[in-house]
Symmetry: C2
Subunit: 277 residues, 2 copies
């Protein structure tokens, strides 16, 4: 793990519903540009290849690709140019014929991990099968990167579990529809991300989308959050890129004071209600 | 449970270090005033009877009282006048001779619960014994009230566990020392409280303290937070009272949409790392 800073970028793409080829190409261009700018970890939105607001399962299926599709693997070529890790959401056609709301992580060596969203939001339940496996924690030269997708992050159990499993940074491809909020407040999902970062002293990189899709507007809440829970970079722009140079090694220190440690001070014997079924 | 609104008040007292009699009397006056104003749930700060920054264990011991001390029970008389529940932090002398950083809950019937802080912050570990029991969830005519104390709230497992155990409102006596934060941001502990409220759709009532003690300043972050995670009342004033009329029944609805439910959508089979020891 390098002791210095790592440039992390989130590109707030505006996928076009159903335009698989175009979305993949625009994502590829975004990865190339971020890597050229020095980013070593690049995060793209949830369902970046397909768009989000499917009307029917058939529509989702028409925009789905297998995780091994060479068009996704092409992103690895761009990642390889800068020794970067790319994390992007895509609509996955599983080998079992089912659809998953997934994220793929690639670097110059190819596919590092595929994660299938475990907490499906609202009508996603009509189109997607929920993942059954824990989210991955990927070792890189820059630190360990965990992955969640959108609504996953709103279950405090999830970022906490990743931190306990050693993640230094949690990458979160998202699609956040606009919801009302009081003046001066961050989007509520960003508040959740800030709290999750501080609670476990991990970095969180949320990559939201932009564009308008079937009348839905998106929060454009992309945010890179440090281990104190503060936003280090964000963008409200259509297609905007948020970039921050982060000392990911800071996530290895869990102490708040000489005698307070956010993980060592846990009392897991009291947390039984969280895993009761 | 009443279907209507319940007035909840937090009184941001400024305890005087070691002035047990004076602190108890000021707390009593605060309870009386809040109840006269119509509050049915009244929250006071952590260690409201003793102050916080003890130099030695002996100093803490000199300011400790037993949970059954008639001076605390007197608060119940004031609670009884308005059929209120009072929750206050105090420095407890246990029947085992040990000191605990505790909270007591009283209503007209007397003591409803005593909770001993389970996550001790920093030098508290030198003075106090950590509690071994789960925080209480107290049934009242207004809803079910859970209790945490200060640093407890920063462990997302804790408010989540209380929500799973049925709490509608989490009352949190705190002492939050000032820490740096970016312009325009809430205190980080308030961000944690907002996220906890929204994650489980519970109300959170944090009662911070005020005053200056041995040079330490306090955040004065008292905040009443609704089930969407937004602040409904706060006060930055010395000794200030924050009051909100809350529909506590809202906490019984955990749905965000017809198909999304913040508790039913949990995947406890994935949360094993949280309870591994």
């Amino acid at each position: 793990m390098e002791p210095t800073v790592t440039r992390v970028a989130c590109v707030q793409l505006a996928p076009v519903l159903g335009d698989l080829a175009g979305n993949i190409e625009r994502a590829r261009a975004a990865v190339r540009a971020a890597v050229a700018d020095g980013a070593r970890i690049v995060v793209l939105p949830e369902l970046a290849t397909s768009g989000y607001l499917f009307a029917t399962a058939d529509e989702a299926r028409a925009a789905a690709v297998a995780a091994g599709d060479p068009r996704l693997a092409a992103w690895a070529d761009d990642a390889a140019r800068g020794e970067a890790l790319v994390i992007a959401g895509f609509c996955e056609l599983g080998e079992d014929g089912r659809l998953y709301n997934s994220a793929i992580a690639l670097d110059g060596s190819g596919t590092r991990a595929v994660y299938r969203k475990t907490h499906l939001w609202d009508r996603e339940k009509e189109f997607f099968t929920p993942g059954r496996a824990d989210p991955p924690v990927i070792a890189t030269p820059y630190g360990r990167v965990g992955i969640l997708i959108c609504y996953d992050l709103e279950f405090p159990e999830m970022p906490r579990s990743l931190a306990l499993r050693g993640a230094d940074l949690v990458a979160v491809p998202t699609n956040w529809p606009v919801v009302p909020r009081p003046d001066g407040e961050h989007p509520p999902e960003v508040v959740a991300a800030m709290a999750a970062a501080r609670a476990s002293r991990v970095f969180v990189a949320c990559c939201d989308r932009s564009g308008t899709e079937r009348g839905e507007r998106w929060t454009r809440g992309t945010a890179l959050i440090d281990t104190d829970g503060w936003i280090r970079a964000s963008t409200r722009d259509e297609g905007g890129r948020a970039t921050a140079d982060l000392r990911l090694g800071d996530a290895r220190g869990k102490r708040l004071t000489e005698l307070a440690d956010v993980l060592a001070d846990r009392r897991p014997e009291l947390y039984g209600p969280l895993t009761d079924r």
